[in-house]
Symmetry: C2
Subunit: 342 residues, 2 copies
Amino acid sequence: MARKRITPGNIRLTEVAKLAGVSPITASRFFRNPEALSINKRARVESAARELGYVPNLAARALASQRTEVIGVLIPSLTNNVFADVLRGIYDALDGSRYSIQLANTRYSILQEERLLRLFLAQKPAGLIVTGINQTADSRVIMEAVDCPIVQIMEIGPAPIDMMIGFSHFDASKAAISHLLDQGCRRIGFLGARMDPRVQRRLDGYRSAMTEAALFDPRLIVTTALPTSVTLGGTLFADLLAQAPDIDAVFCVNDDLALGTLFECKRRHMVVPDQIAIVGFNDLEFTSSSVPTLSSVRTNRYEMGRNAAAMVIETLEGRRPAGPVVDLGFSVMKRQSSARRR
Amino acid sequence: MARKRITPGNIRLTEVAKLAGVSPITASRFFRNPEALSINKRARVESAARELGYVPNLAARALASQRTEVIGVLIPSLTNNVFADVLRGIYDALDGSRYSIQLANTRYSILQEERLLRLFLAQKPAGLIVTGINQTADSRVIMEAVDCPIVQIMEIGPAPIDMMIGFSHFDASKAAISHLLDQGCRRIGFLGARMDPRVQRRLDGYRSAMTEAALFDPRLIVTTALPTSVTLGGTLFADLLAQAPDIDAVFCVNDDLALGTLFECKRRHMVVPDQIAIVGFNDLEFTSSSVPTLSSVRTNRYEMGRNAAAMVIETLEGRRPAGPVVDLGFSVMKRQSSARRR
DNA sequence: CAACCTCTTGGTAGCGCTGTCAATATCGGT
DNA sequence: ACCGATATTGACAGCGCTACCAAGAGGTTG
């Protein structure tokens, strides 16, 4: 016959209930829905829990209730500081709440994303935050079938799975090009690395703006699948100069590339912005302190993370956010690197 | 009388066992210790699990086994790209393993760290990775009492709680100053932001090197508790110049400050390195592509994260790592910003 | 005063898995 | 052929909590 398992000295809900003089179920309710208790018992349970230093066993809770208090977050990269900002927003929003984060790295692969999604959903997360709007068809199907709030972040588009928060990369890119056109630039190059879906849409925006201005020329575009870096910015800019020596401006899909381009210009003694105007993307902190300061497209990454997490929590608490799709917009920060005197 | 709860259509271990024609307990063993099964049953359980698409319920597992497969990670900041690299290493090491990460942000507060530690330990994590060697006395006590592998990362010191991986910030800083002294610099400034314990030890290293060279002067030191940034680097450098106009070099506790200093020099038309030599810390990617390239102290952050996670896993699997303390070292990357012609 | 409601509390069973033994099968040695 | 040792498998109960239902307390209404 099985012997009784050695029970460790952990404080269980039963102990708290006994000390408070209530049934375990009442004590349980105190933690999930305190308003359901009379003021009297509420205070008794609270002081008993505090006295014993009770910490609920989340595994038991998850098993019994068939759900967890974990919000799954799927992002494509940990290195990219863009996501660091988003994550900070998410963690800040969840700070002090009952929810915690389970983070997974899709490494820019939607197949990997689908695999991780299945893994997450099997554990019945309280909510889900996923990056972008390009999921596999299967991913979409399983996400739509699942009964938990889901927020797609980083960009907006038609047909959200559930909720969505981001901005239009197409419009943002187009606005950056418009600004360069306003400055009198005509031969505007495009530098892109790690061509993920959002960067692709920035390229689409560039192409649209240039075509509308009747200035489109495929030789002005240099892209690579390599992960982005400052050094790569210099390399790509050199490539661009080689295939289109007459450029008068460059739009970089992120600020690292822009900084690399700026350094490469310095190395070649090309004067920014007089000979080459530069506009970056993301508006990282350094853009406003480089020499010359770098124009960039400001995006609200921290707010994106913060709001995404808040939207999940609100939905879980029954206060469904007003609109399922939130456009956080962007703004073109016009600085020295694109200030052409005409 | 309580009615039977509606059981959802989830595949349980029982179903797998039934299909495989074995007892549930045997099926359970397959997932935890496949070698204990005969080859025959092993194959039967495996194919049954695959056929049904079985995914284990982690909550039930955790509840029954009194332990989880979660490794808790406590870091002081999500924004700091130093930790992004460490995290990437940790996630990479755990990729494909049964373990997952629970991340928490201490915001550079050891009290917050202690609170999070209690929260983590109540859930019986498989292991723990904590930042630095400056924990509260209570934190140390509870960590020493806990029966799971613990790795302190980012720096090394005496008396590890369990294991330790990092490098000496004191030595690294001292080596950077030695290099500047070798270059003939005499009035070497120190720029520090967010004076966390590791940055403090870099200051100690600076002080030690300067004192040994009989060149120490408190006016050469500018520090602030503000979080670091490129812009702040420019500001601090300006402050330093104001209180010690005769400096011939600056050691910055990180590369962001160094880049900000470089930009500020450019703004003031001070030639780097001829008038001012600059050395940063961390060797971020951009240091090798700025103009001039920035000297910096390379630290092995990715390896630190990767090894820390590997050490936890090895310990869990009974293969205790050889030494409990691993010194990953550092190297002074000598580049243009500190190359003085004498 | 009965009928009815709302608020609060409790009893019972079970979530899906694994720790602890016990039982059986297998094998080599004497 | 018998014994003990080793591999393999199974039975049972229980991990700590909550879903579900029921029931008592207190108030309101016609």
